[in-house]
């Protein structure tokens, strides 16, 4: 057990625990705050994976925007201070069964794959992931088209969200 492994196990366990709390907590504000904890754990996983840029973007986009949006939405759609009725529907056992089967199936399938327990190659010295990522996102031989399409998608989502949520008096 190296230090990195112990760190990964702690972070991974915390991420999964907060993920579980997200789907089981009754109070939706708490669920959203647990989501923040999960997202923070995922950002740490990115940092362990040497993707520092993605870790910071995860915090900016997910925690700074998406989680805040969730908290706002929960506050705007509350009828009373306390939630009424059960937090899960009548078929929750089917959902739990499907989730467990999915997990078991994925693990079983991955186990039979040859690259399952592969080790990471060392990062060559002088390799600048941020630089490479920027080049890949903007070069015509890279991913400039998906990048532009994503920006159009964001614009469409912005307009659509404003239109949908706008209160026509």
């Amino acid at each position: 057990m190296t230090g990195t492994q112990i760190f990964f196990l702690i972070v991974g366990a915390a991420t999964l625990f907060s993920g579980l709390m997200v789907v089981t907590t009754r109070n939706l504000i708490h669920a959203a705050l647990w989501l923040v904890a999960t997202l923070f754990g995922v950002a740490m996983i990115y940092a362990i994976l040497d993707a520092g840029f993605l870790a910071v973007v995860q915090v900016v986009v997910y925690i700074g925007a998406i989680a805040i949006l969730f908290i706002f939405a929960v506050m705007l759609t509350r009828r009373q201070a306390a939630e009424t009725g059960p937090s899960v529907n009548a078929n929750w056992w089917a959902g739990a069964f499907t989730a467990v089967v999915t997990f078991a199936g994925l693990t079983f399938m991955l186990k039979s794959w040859s690259g399952f327990s592969k080790q990471a190659a060392a990062i060559p010295s002088g390799f600048d992931a941020v630089n490479q990522l920027g080049n890949a996102l903007t070069s015509p031989t890279g991913y400039v088209l998906p990048f532009e399409v994503a920006s159009v998608l964001l614009l469409a989502a912005l307009v659509g969200a404003v239109y949908l949520a706008f209160n026509k008096k």
Binding site: V23, V42, L54, V57, F70, V100, Q119, A136, A156
Partner: protein, 102 residues
């Protein structure tokens, strides 16, 4: 060091937790929370495949960024829909929204 399998299993577990949230929760906002967990699980996979594959191919990180954009768009439109539904029906419980079910 950490083998790839740890990341994949973590991602699979997170995906399954999200799937349970989507299938079992009654509140529409909670369902969207589950969707976020699933998207994050996918992102962990993408980034770990980037790290454990050829590191100079940036496809994994680029796809992760596209997933960020899609997640942001999905949340914005999804929550706008939820708020719009709440205004009309005064509920966000998914099983009460059954106008199309006959």
């Amino acid at each position: 060091m950490i083998p790839l399998s740890w990341y994949l299993i973590l991602a699979a577990a997170l995906f399954s937790i999200g799937l349970f949230g989507v299938l079992a929760r009654r509140n529409a906002v909670a369902i969207l929370l589950g969707v976020e967990l699933m998207l994050n699980a996918v992102n962990i996979n993408l980034v770990s495949f980037w790290r454990y594959g050829d590191i100079s191919l940036m496809a994994g990180q680029v796809f992760a960024i596209i997933v960020f954009a899609v997640a942001a768009a999905e949340v914005a439109v999804g929550l706008a829909l939820v708020i719009s539904v709440y205004r009309r029906r005064n509920t966000v419980v998914a099983e009460d929204l059954d106008l199309l079910k006959w």
